[in-house]
Every structure is written in C-alpha cells, then in structure tokens.
C-alpha cells in the first residue's frame, strides 16, 4: 500500500506552527538567560567559605540532575497547586527550564572556575582585591570562556527539552505538531517538518551563542 505524501496538508496550519516556534524561542531565551545567571550564582555559592551554602546548593544540583525533566515539570505544574502555588503553562514551563538549566550550568561553570590556575587568584589577592572583585574580574570571564562550548551545548539541550512542555498544554512547536497530526493524520509530513524546524532553530542558536561567546571573550592579542 503506497503512502501518498502530502506536505500541502500542513500548509493550512502554518500559523499554529509559527506560534509554536515563537513560544519555543521565548521559553529558550528567558530560560537560558536566567538559567545561566542562576548557574553562575550557584557556582559562586559552591566555592563559598560557608559550607552550609555550598551544601544547600549541592542538594539542589543533585536533586535536579538526578530526576527526569518531565517529572520536575509535572511537579511544578500539577503538584504545586496543592501547596497553593498555581502557575500558568508558560510560567511553569519557564520555571522548570530555568531550574533545570541552573543546576546543570552550576556544575559546568564550577568546572570552569576550578580550572583557573591558583596563581591568578593569588596574584589578585596580593593586589588587595576582595573576594567579589576577584570573582568578577579575574575568575568568571576566563572560566566562562573555557566552558563556553559545553554551556552552549547544555543551552541547546534545554531548548530541545522544551518540547516536553507540550505535556502541560504549553502550545510550543511539539504541541503544534501533535495537534496538526491529530487533525489530518499525516504523521510523516508533520513530524518531518517539526524536526526540520527544530534543527534550524538549533543551528541558529548555536551560531548565536558562538557569536556571543566571541564577543564576550574576544581573544586579546598577547602584548
């Protein structure tokens, strides 16, 4: 039985797909910016002198890294209302992505910080810089530069993970694809187009992050 391919069947639903792409992009942008900031704070806390803060952040990181993203999302969306915290799909999806990216990037950035030679820190201390100044001027930028490829990968993973948010009826790209498939039953065409769109968004995101990395950590020629 020959399957008749009909990509035209998707064309009437182009608006839904576009809305899906837009929402995925929104979730990713907000998730990435706030998530990486959270990760930076987390990495800073892990290096803190007070072991209590380091342990609390450590518990958060291990909790998030060792549980599935879908379970975290369901807990935030379906579970929190029992405690009186009711979030919309967008809020729950963004929160889950931030919390998830925050945990992974804490570890990634912490690895970058540990890779800074001790001599740099000692030199900064001998210049009477305090801890905050050392972190801000001497440690964090080289650390981010070192781990930027790994961090970019994690951000792309979180963007692709946003497809899970279709499970709480957030109308992103996967939700749009599932809906169109339920209406016209053209699974091959619909998911082919959705895959192509995710691929395009992924490639674009990596390119943007690369440009951003070059801008932020531009190579200074050795003096």
């Amino acid at each position: 039985m020959a399957y008749k391919f009909d990509f035209g069947a998707i064309v009437p639903h182009w608006e839904l797909l576009l809305d899906g792409v837009v929402l995925t992009t929104e979730l990713t942008v907000i998730g990435a910016i706030v998530g990486v900031s959270l990760g930076t704070l987390g990495a800073w806390a892990r290096a803190s002198r007070a072991p209590v803060i380091s342990q609390i952040v450590g518990i958060y990181v291990e909790l998030i890294r060792n549980t599935p993203f879908l379970v975290q999302l369901f807990f935030i969306f379906f579970g929190l209302p029992a405690l009186g915290v009711k979030l919309s799909e967008f809020q729950a999806a963004v929160l889950a992505m931030i919390v998830n990216l925050g945990a992974y990037s804490t570890e990634i950035i912490r690895a970058g910080i540990l890779a800074i030679p001790k001599g740099q820190v000692e030199a900064a201390q001998s210049l009477a810089m305090n801890r905050v100044q050392i972190f801000r001027y001497v440690v964090i930028r080289p650390a981010l530069k070192k781990i930027w490829p790994a961090l970019s990968s994690q951000i792309v993973i979180v963007m692709l993970g946003s497809s899970v948010c279709s499970q709480i009826a957030a109308e992103e790209l996967t939700f749009a694809a599932n809906y169109i498939q339920a209406v016209n039953f053209r699974a091959f065409e619909v998911y082919f187009v959705a895959t192509a769109l995710y691929l395009a968004m992924s490639v674009l995101l990596r390119w943007v992050l690369k440009i951003f990395g070059n801008f932020l950590f531009e190579r200074r020629s050795h003096v």
């Binding site: 209302p81 009711k86 009826a169």
Partner: protein
C-alpha cells in the same frame, strides 16, 4: 376415513403446529420457563465487573434484576464480551443484552433496541460553584480536554470564540489538570467523571451540560414486538418511580439527565 383425508389432516397439522409454536413470542416463553437470560459485561466498570466474591455487579446487572423482578421471573446472568454479545442474542442463548450497548445503523439491521436505560454522554463537568448551563456560559472559563477525543472535536465546534480550551496529551493529563485547578472545567465522558467522583476528589466534576449523547439501550431479537413493548414499559416505570435514578446514583454518582 380415506387415505386422502388422513394425509390432508396430517399435512395441515404439520403446517399448523409450527405456526402455533411461532405465535408464542419470547415473552411467553420466558414467562412459561420462569427464567430470564440476560447477557451482561464482566470487565467494564461501572456497568459490569466481578466483585471479590466472584459475583457480577454493576449498573447493567442491577438493570437486569429490575426487569426480571417486574416480569416476575428468575434472573440468569450470562457474562459476555463486546465481541460476542450480539451473536449470543441472535442465536437465542440469551433473551436480552444489557451491556452498555450503543445504537448504530449496522446493529439495527440485526437486532432491535428498546428505549435507553443508561446515560452515556460526553459533557462539560465542573465543581458546583461554577455556574455554566450551556456552551454560551463557557466564555471566560478554561476547559481541559484530551487532544483528539470526541469531546475535543465536538467542543471546538460549539465553543464561543474566547473560550480557553487546553488540550492534554492523554486522559491522565486532563484529569490532573482539573483536579489541581489548572483548568476550571473538564470535558469528558460521564463514565470518566463517575470514576473521578468515586475517588472522592477535592474538586468534584458535576455535570454542567451535554455535548453529545450516546445512551445505552437494551438489545433484543427482531420481531418481538410484545416483548419490546413490555421491556419499554418496565423501563418507563422505573424512571417514573425513581428506581432507575437510584441505580444511576449508585453506579455513576450522578443523577439521570432529564432526557435519556
């Protein structure tokens, strides 16, 4: 008597006897035997399941008992599955099929249906404090549905433009969304709503209005008009005196709709 007369009388007797037998319909046969044989489901709660004591129980079983009582005969339950319930009827192994049977043209070619006795509908449900009587009242609320289900397709057709329909991937997502309050109302089948109510949830899905009605009918063999009329009479009587409503409340947790 000559041979011709004898053979004529014999021939007439032979033709007449089956005719005499045929004029006794199913109703008379049942009353004579004193037993009503009814096909019931055994794997479809709340219509028919088997209890811990291995006895069948459910909406359909209670209905069968009611009909047997009103006919004044004993009840014999015959457990069947969806695939063999109609053949059991057409081959005479049972007199009635009471098994959450829906009416459709294909089945109408083979068997007859009485009036409806059980509600089986898709509708909008929600807690008592949300006042919604029809599709127009839905404006400003949010309704959860399972993507692609009949409720989804039908509700999309009749819903006002500013209604928020949230489509979840499966029944569990829809139910979780309703119970956690993420959506105000839920559009689903009445059997699902009954199952939710049975578990004593914090938010009860009480019926608000019907989307599509596909009630259950009692199936019986064709050309049994007297029997059909009698069963219809019993069904009408049980609605009038509230016995059918009691069965509905017991097994579905929801009273009968005004029009079955």
């Amino acid at each position: 008597m000559n041979k011709f007369l004898k053979s004529t009388i014999a021939a007439i007797a032979m033709i007449a006897a089956p005719l005499a037998g045929a004029s006794a319909g199913a109703l008379d046969t049942i009353k004579e035997a004193g037993v009503l044989k009814v096909a019931v489901p055994q794997d479809f709660p709340p219509f028919g399941t088997v209890g811990a004591d291995m006895q069948p129980k459910g909406y359909d079983i209670d209905m069968a008992a009611l009909i047997a009582d009103d006919l004044g005969v004993k009840l014999e339950l015959v457990p069947v599955a969806s695939s063999n319930r109609i053949p059991y009827l057409t081959t005479g192994k049972v007199d009635l099929v009471i098994s959450s049977l829906g009416k459709n043209p294909d089945r109408e070619k083979v068997i007859d249906f009485t009036d409806p006795y059980a509600p089986f509908y898709n509708g909008v449900f929600g807690p008592a404090d949300i006042a919604v009587k029809g599709a127009e009242d839905l404006a400003g609320h949010s309704v959860g549905v399972t993507r692609g289900a009949i409720e989804d397709l039908e509700l999309t057709k009749i819903a006002p433009a500013d209604l928020e329909i949230k489509r979840y991937e499966d029944n569990n997502g829809t139910i979780s969304a309703f119970l956690s309050g993420q959506v105000d109302l839920i559009a689903t089948g009445n059997v699902t709503a009954a199952a939710i109510i049975e578990r004593n949830p914090p938010r009860k899905p009480e019926p608000k209005f019907l989307i599509k009605n596909s009630p259950c009918y009692v199936g019986l063999n064709k050309e049994e008009d007297a029997f059909k009329a009698k069963v219809n009479e019993i069904i009408a009587a049980s609605i009038a005196d509230g016995r059918l409503n009691a069965i509905a409340e017991k097994w579905l947790g929801i009273p009968l709709p005004e029009k079955l």
